[in-house]
């Protein structure tokens, strides 16, 4: 007879449960892997594809898979210059200035993924906390907080973006220069990040509003449910109730909304560059590549299709992963 006394159930937390469930969702797993690959491509492999800003005006709109010769006069230390010939392979062809398209797309991906990641995280954290607190507090505090949200909705956002850019770009640039000089940060990358930072803040400052509203509604309805009432009557502290019991239940719609906001942030950055804000030339992002590519819709469709492909597949993956997460975090499924 088997000794059943030693078989005990291992206690699991909500997160562990969720992880296990997520692993079983094939589509979500594939999406997750895809995203990791995309990240690696953009942040690691990109460096092997050459300079995204190296122009070759004579080699515009080169075909996919073509190669070009790049002849340069390279200055020697003694002041003379010699000719250097390099052969460049253009896996995805070149753009309107003769720049390697694959390189532009991957480096552009860095910016877009960062915008998506950082701005969304900012929006997520602020939005959920704000909405949860407002919904849980109820009454006058809730009213004040929600009216503040109403106000922020209507602030002319472009004004904020321009201001932030003007005000911050000088100082972030100085900080970057200082970091490069004293702490040996890589020059180009640091300055690029410094240029983008005001943009992230501005976009993040926009996106948390609707998330707050959605979270608040969820919290309000959850607050009335039995489990919440039970927790309250048990005398648990509000923060514990909020963070342990209520918020996890709001994560479902929140995550869904977040998977939608990431692409809209990326696109919003592109819209800003319509107006001279957004990422600074010559750097690029998926949004900008797509926007510029749209002008070549009739004439050079590859310039639109290729970046759009990267963008779209990443977003699909994000969404399927998000759905998977939502399912995994569903407390009702935990009952099984």
């Amino acid at each position: 007879m088997a000794d059943t006394s030693t078989v005990t159930e291992k206690g699991t937390s909500l997160w562990r449960d969720a992880w296990l469930r997520l692993r079983k969702n094939k589509v979500a797993v594939v999406s997750g892997v895809f995203l990791i690959v995309m990240f690696l491509l953009c942040f690691v492999a990109a460096w092997f594809t050459g300079d995204p800003n190296e122009q070759d005006l004579a080699n515009k709109f080169a075909a996919v898979g073509s190669s070009s010769e790049n002849i340069q006069q390279v200055r020697q230390d003694d002041g003379s210059s010699i000719k250097e010939t390099r052969t460049l392979l253009h896996l995805l062809g070149t753009d309107q200035m003769g720049r390697d398209l694959l390189s532009r797309i991957l480096f552009g991906g860095q910016v877009s993924l960062l915008v998506g990641l950082i701005a969304t995280s900012v929006a997520f954290v602020i939005g959920i906390s704000y909405g949860a607190i407002s919904g849980y507090a109820g009454g006058r505090a809730d009213a004040i907080m929600m009216r503040a949200v109403d106000t922020l909705y209507a602030i002319p956002f472009l004004v904020l973006v321009i201001l932030l850019q003007e005000v911050l770009s000088g100082s972030t640039s100085e900080v970057a220069t200082w970091l490069v000089k004293h702490w040996k940060f890589p020059d180009e990358t640091t300055h690029r990040l410094a240029n983008i930072l005001p943009l992230f803040l501005a976009i993040g400052a926009l996106g948390w509003l609707t998330l707050a509203r959605i979270t608040r509604s969820q919290i309000l309805s959850l607050k009335q449910q039995e489990f919440a009432q039970a927790a309250i009557s048990l005398g648990l502290s509000p923060s514990r109730i909020l963070f342990r019991h209520l918020i996890p239940n709001t994560l479902g719609p929140a995550i869904v909304y977040v998977t939608l906001t990431i692409p809209s942030f990326i696109m919003y950055e592109a819209t800003l560059s319509f107006l001279g804000l957004g990422i600074k030339a010559p750097d690029s992002s998926w949004g900008v590549l797509i926007k510029d590519g749209a002008n070549y819709m009739e004439t050079q469709p590859m310039l639109l299709i290729l970046p759009a492909l990267f963008f779209t597949t990443t977003l699909f993956a994000l969404n399927f992963l998000g759905d998977g997460l939502r399912d995994a975090l569903d407390p009702k499924a935990a009952k099984d």
Binding site: Q55, L57, A58, Q73, R75, G79, M97, G276, E298
Partner: protein, 538 residues
């Protein structure tokens, strides 16, 4: 489904229309109505209060100055409000005889009083005109504007009788008729303006230009104006030369998005576009060769250098930057509009011979940079190129950056700002290099040279050169037109020697035009006189 019900009544005619093969452009040709793309919503129709090219297109249709543009020949002045004119020996006094049959669109005659009133109005400081320096050629005009003289009768304009205008100038200006073609010299209807301004000459928002109030003396009169949608004008029955006007009306569409504008043209919704974006130029050249035009346009593209900042205070650095730009490549690959590389500031036209001052010479450029002390390119300070995100600015900036890197080995940052921040930074000398340009206002080299005087509002570089200004002043005392041009060339030579602005190319205007539009010819100032335009069905 109320929406469906609302849609249905117009879906049916739309479906029926779709059986009609004619496009909006076709139907308009039959009605003799010209449909023109005009960039964006005008700031207004009061010629004393606007400064833009798109406004001038509208104002030219509605109003007429002393002289008008010839339909195909540059630099010819045809009779407008004035039927004849002559100058004294040294071109310091001009007498214009107004045509006695000239009338406003309400039938009231156009008289010298209107001109006197108009010039006084634009020169009245409290009106707030932005462009009145065009009138400073008139003796004492500037002084009156600045308030040094308070009696307008001391300004050099007189009306000996109702149909004669006598203008005394501050110097020799042989090209005055050219200047009168500019809208700042147009008349406004005194009786209408005063009626809506409570008798005050300087009330700017009187509403006298609203449809219903406005009265004009040009080939057309205002019919309707819907913001951001259209401005329609119709043939003016009181126009003195109405028999020559062949269009029944013109419809101006303020299409901001130039891609939409081109597509509207391809879709048969428009006869003439304002512009063609560079991305469409090769496509247009190939697929619409009869409709695509690329014509010289009097303007220069240049990169301003803030000479008050290091290292741009060194002429060698500026020259190095200037010589490292492969202008031809830029034109062929980026702007694609058939522009001309600018080896000087003033575009060569008429009898003016622009000196060859700068070109693409990367070897010399590198050498100059060495001489300036930057043999180790690492020592070159981190400077920025200011640019706005308009039209092809971004691509140009990227191209400059690429060329400076390739030929000089230096890295220049691009600072892209939205339009007003860009203008603001340039005006306040808060930049290192700035991508800019200038369109000429009239056919004389001074329109490109006058702006560079010390502290000139349009200078924006911090550059000044006493000798340069002396020569400019001197040119106004030169009576012989040929010698005068030589004097101006001397001035330009100094400007290009010191290069506060690196000239890049001379503009062309690229647009699409329906072949059924006739009477439309290339003009350097692109100020086509609407009265000679017509629509002929195939």
């Amino acid at each position: 489904m109320r929406v469906l019900r609302r849609l249905l009544p117009s879906l049916i005619p739309a479906l029926l229309l779709s059986c009609d093969d004619r496009t909006a452009a076709d139907r308009a040709v039959e009605d003799r109505i010209l449909i023109v793309g005009n960039s964006s919503e005008p700031k207004g129709l009061d010629c004393h209060l606007v400064t833009g090219v798109l406004e001038s297109n509208l104002i030219r249709a509605l109003f007429e100055g002393l002289c008008t543009e010839h339909q195909s020949l540059d630099g010819q002045a045809l009779p407008g409000a004035a039927e004849s004119w002559e100058a004294n020996e040294d071109f310091t006094v001009w007498t214009f005889k107004l045509g006695p049959d000239r009338k406003w669109s309400d039938g009231v005659p156009v008289t010298a009083e209107d001109f006197l009133f108009s010039y006084q109005r634009i020169l009245t400081k409290t009106l707030g005109s932005e462009y009145n320096e065009m009138l400073f050629y008139i003796r004492n005009a500037e002084e009156f504007y600045k308030g040094e003289i308070t009696d307008f009768s001391e300004v050099g304009i007189r009306a000996p009788d109702d149909y004669t205008l006598e203008i005394s100038l501050r110097g020799s200006i042989p090209f005055l008729p050219e200047i009168t073609k500019h809208y700042t010299w147009y008349p406004v209807p005194r009786h209408v303006v005063m009626k809506h301004s409570n008798g005050k000459i300087d009330a700017p928002f009187s509403g006298w230009t609203k449809p219903g109030n406005i009265v004009s003396n040009g080939p057309f009169a205002l019919k309707s104006w819907r913001i951001n949608d259209h401005i329609a004008v119709e043939k003016n029955p009181h126009y003195w030369d109405r028999d020559k006007v062949q269009l029944n009306g013109i419809r101006f569409l303020p299409v901001v998005n130039s891609y939409t504008e081109s597509r509207m043209f391809f879709d048969g919704l428009m006869h003439i576009t304002y512009i063609v974006p560079p991305e469409f130029i090769p496509y247009a050249r190939k697929n619409y060769p009869d409709q695509f035009r690329s014509e010289l346009y009097l303007g220069t593209k240049f990169v301003r250098c803030n000479v008050t900042r290091k290292p741009l205070d060194d002429i060698r650095v500026r020259k190095a930057l200037g010589m490292a730009i492969d202008r031809q490549s830029l034109i062929e690959n980026v702007t694609k509009g058939g522009q001309e590389p600018a080896y000087g500031m003033v575009p060569p036209f008429g009898n003016y011979k622009t000196g060859r001052a700068i070109g693409f010479d990367p070897v010399q450029a590198a050498r100059l940079l060495d001489e300036a002390g930057f043999q180790n390119r690492i020592d070159f300070p981190r400077i920025t190129l200011l640019t706005a995100d308009r039209d092809v600015s971004k691509a140009m900036a990227e191209a400059y950056q690429g060329m400076w890197k390739k030929h000089l080995g230096i890295h220049i940052e691009i600072a892209q700002k939205e339009w007003t921040s860009y203008l603001n930074a340039m005006t306040n000398l808060d930049y290192d290099l700035a991508d800019s340009g200038w369109i000429g206002d009239y056919l004389d080299p001074t329109t490109f040279l006058d702006m560079w005087i010390k502290d000139g509002g349009n200078n924006r570089t911090g550059w000044a050169n006493g000798e340069f200004e002396e020569i400019l002043k001197q040119s106004e005392h030169e009576r012989d037109p040929a010698r005068r041009l030589l004097v101006l060339q001397e001035a330009e030579k100094i400007l290009m020697e010191e290069l506060p602005a690196i000239t890049i190319y001379w503009y062309t205007t690229n647009y699409l035009i329906d072949p059924r539009v006739k009477g439309w010819n290339p003009l350097l100032l692109n100020n086509h006189p609407w009265k000679w335009v017509s629509l002929e069905p195939n």
